[in-house]
Each structure stands twice: as structure tokens, then as C-alpha cells.
Symmetry: C2
Subunit: 242 residues, 2 copies
Amino acid sequence: MKNNGFDRNAAPLYVQARTLILERIEAGTYGPGKVLPSEFALADELGISQGTVRKALDTLVADRFLVRRQGRGTFVADHTPADVLFRFFKFYTRDGERVLPSSRDTRVRHRIANASECARLQLECGSRIISITRTRLHGRTPVIREKIALPAETFPGLGANGTVPNTLYDLFQHQYGITVTHASERIEPAAASARDAAHLGLAAGSPLLRIDRLTFGLGKQPIEWRVSLCHLKGVYYLSELR
Amino acid sequence: MKNNGFDRNAAPLYVQARTLILERIEAGTYGPGKVLPSEFALADELGISQGTVRKALDTLVADRFLVRRQGRGTFVADHTPADVLFRFFKFYTRDGERVLPSSRDTRVRHRIANASECARLQLECGSRIISITRTRLHGRTPVIREKIALPAETFPGLGANGTVPNTLYDLFQHQYGITVTHASERIEPAAASARDAAHLGLAAGSPLLRIDRLTFGLGKQPIEWRVSLCHLKGVYYLSELR
DNA sequence: GAGTGGTCTAGACCACCCT
DNA sequence: GGGTGGTCTAGACCACTCT
């Protein structure tokens, strides 16, 4: 057994194989939607057995970096707009139907991050950010007013023409090679300010959901900070606990 | 290879093994905290190989029915009060500390379920339920007013003396052999009614989080319906998206 | 030292997909 | 028909735990 560059005294081989494959996904060697070499080809290349490669792939499938299709191969997960909405947009109607939002009143600005933006995004003081505000609609009803901050350095050129797509996360993957892996949302009740109430067509002081989200990719640093004020007439936020 | 009672033309062997082990957990053959037979012993008993038993156990560990301890054995997950709070109570302080709530003003009643209770709990019209209302505190501050409905048939004798423990789910497991597997929460903003405001020490109309939870065990029928009205001063609800 | 789970290998057969 | 992943086996060695 050749065992190219793998250290048998370090982490288990399948963990080392997982790390290596993940690095290749991150580097774009295996791009979104592309097929990986077969299990036997990878095993040969890495100098380990096919069963060990399979175990590494299993963990990556469980973490949704990869998708297997029997008879065809193993593919890098390709985050379509629908996938992204399915995973990171948790709003449903009373009938259990998914809410597919559209956007309105979008405004994009490039500016220096303020103190709270630097703190939440773990940026150096004085870093530049891209700030997006928009109203999101369910059908014709405005339901969410959201404010998004992105590190400008991570997303060069984003929103340069003053517009931004309705779903950002698939753009992150295909344009910038950044896969969104998870997000952490803090939810609180809040009363609508006069300004937010106007955007949402409500009376000031109406009860809202305030959702403060940090979004993460493969690295430790957050790639997005998003605060959503949600009206949710006839719609609810669904949280599954397991 | 004996292969006791397993059908090689049906589901994969590891799925059949998983189902059988799960049935034994449900039936109490393997009780909470108890050690299972070793992988080789199970393999012998079921007439399959140890690797296949391991794959079945792996899926059950992933679903948190089992816990492995190297050198000691495989154990049925034992839901202590702390575990239950960790999994199903999603409130944190601004510093990221877990909130461990206490209970006050608890009231337990046995009565006929109303229409919405029957619908949510999938009960026959006219079924009996156990209704619990209580206020939950973070330190000395009331933060949540909750109303719980349980099918009386599923939990005979529960709350007969008018009291109920602070954490219900470990009671479900140890007293009634029912393991809570997941819960589904619908979250909406709401304005405090005069009555709820009084329990929480607020002004009427204050913005609240309304959390409507259905809790499930191994069966399809829900085992609990819980509506929580949350004030959350200095506390937030944490939702992790993956 | 005996017994447990954790890792790794090598090889078999199957089901599925493409050309 | 040839290649892919899906399942299953049998056996090896290691790390950990208990007594």
C-alpha cells in the first residue's frame, strides 16, 4: 500500500481523506455539480482502500457537501436557489406550504463598517462592507424587512451595479466559490418602529419577530450578518428540533 | 450463516437489524441507560456479520437512540433532565449562556379535549387530556407563560396529585417508556393579552414570541401540544440551520 | 488479560445508469 | 457491457476500560 503522504500516526485515514477532499472542493478542484473520481480511483490515488474512501465520502454526504447517485457517481452539492431557500428560509403558511419570497425596495451601499458590524462579522475596525436593505414579499404582501451586511473583501464587485439577486447564497457558491454551511439565528420579539412599520404596511408598535442571523461558510469567520424584522401575517417560522 | 428470520429479498439487512433493535428499545427489552449485547453477540443472534450490525448501530447512534463508549459497550440513550433541556429548550442569554428555567404557578387539570386540542393531538372527539399551565422563570424573572396539553390515555396518573416536574420529557422516558425524538415549533409574533401580561409582569400589548410546539416520540401521533408565550427580556431563542 | 468499540483492508455480489 | 455506488462478509490490528 503506497499511502501517499498520509500519516498513519495522526488522525484516522478516513478523516485525513475527508479533509483532503474538502480542501479540493473549497479550492474549486472539484467544482459545484461536478462528478468526483470513483471510489476506487480515489482509493488508488490516496493509497488507501475503497472502504476507507467510502467512509470519508459518507461523512461528506451527511454534511451535505456531496451527493451520491447510484450508477452515476458522487457529485459536489450544487446549491440551486430552491435548495438554498429550502435550507435557510424557514417560513411556511398555515397550510404547511413553503413561502417563496420575492424582493422589493432593494438598496445596496458600499461603506465603512460601524462598530456592531465589525464585531458581528469579526472584521478589523475600518473594514469596508456591502450593506443591503430590502423588503421581502409573500405574494403581494410585504412580510419581512431585512438588512444585510457582507464583508466587501470577501465579495468583490457584488452589487456594483446597485442590484442583487433574490437569493444570495447560490451566488456566493457559483460566483465566489463560498459554500454556505450553516447559520445561527437569534430570535426575539420586537415592536415595529415607525419606519419599519411603513415598509411593512403596519401600525407602528405592531409585534414583530426580530431574527438576527450570522451565516457561516467553511471558514470560522462569518460571511454574512442579517437582521430580519418579520410581520408574518398568516405565515410562521418553523423550527425543527431533533 | 443462519440469518434468523431476516428476509434477504426485503430491506437491507442493516435496516432490518436497526428496526429490530429499535423495537426492543421501544418495548423496554433494552431500557434507558442499559448496555446492549456486544456487536459480535448481536451478529451471532441475528445471523449477520458484525460489520452489518455496526452499520445498524451507527444509524441509531446518529439518531441519538444509542450512545457508544469505547471499551465499555453500546448503551441506550438515557435522557437526563439536562439532556432534555439541552435539546428542546432553545433559550440563551446575550452572553451565549444556556437558560435553565424553573417553574411557578403550575396548574394541572384533567378534562375533555376541546376541538383544537383534538385536532392538534390527533385524538378522537371526546378524548380526555391533561392540561398544564405554568409560568417559567429565568432566575427570578418570569419569561414564559406556557400551556401544555397531553393525551390522558398515553400518560395515566400523570399530575394526579396536582403537581408535575419541571422537566417533563425525562419523566416520559423513565415513567412511561416514551422517548421524545423530535419536536416541531411554529414561531410567530404576538401581542400580550391582559391576562398573560399579568403573569409575565408586563404591560398588555407588549410584543411576545408565540411558540406552538408539537412533540413526537417514535409513533406518528404527537405526544404533546405546547403553546409558549415568551417575553425574553435579555434572552433569545436560538435556531441553528444546517 | 479479556472484552469492548474504532479503524482498516480485501473481496464479493447486487442494482442502477449510460452508451 | 462496463462503470458506478449499495450492501455484505471476514478477518486483522488498535485503543480503551474494567477487574
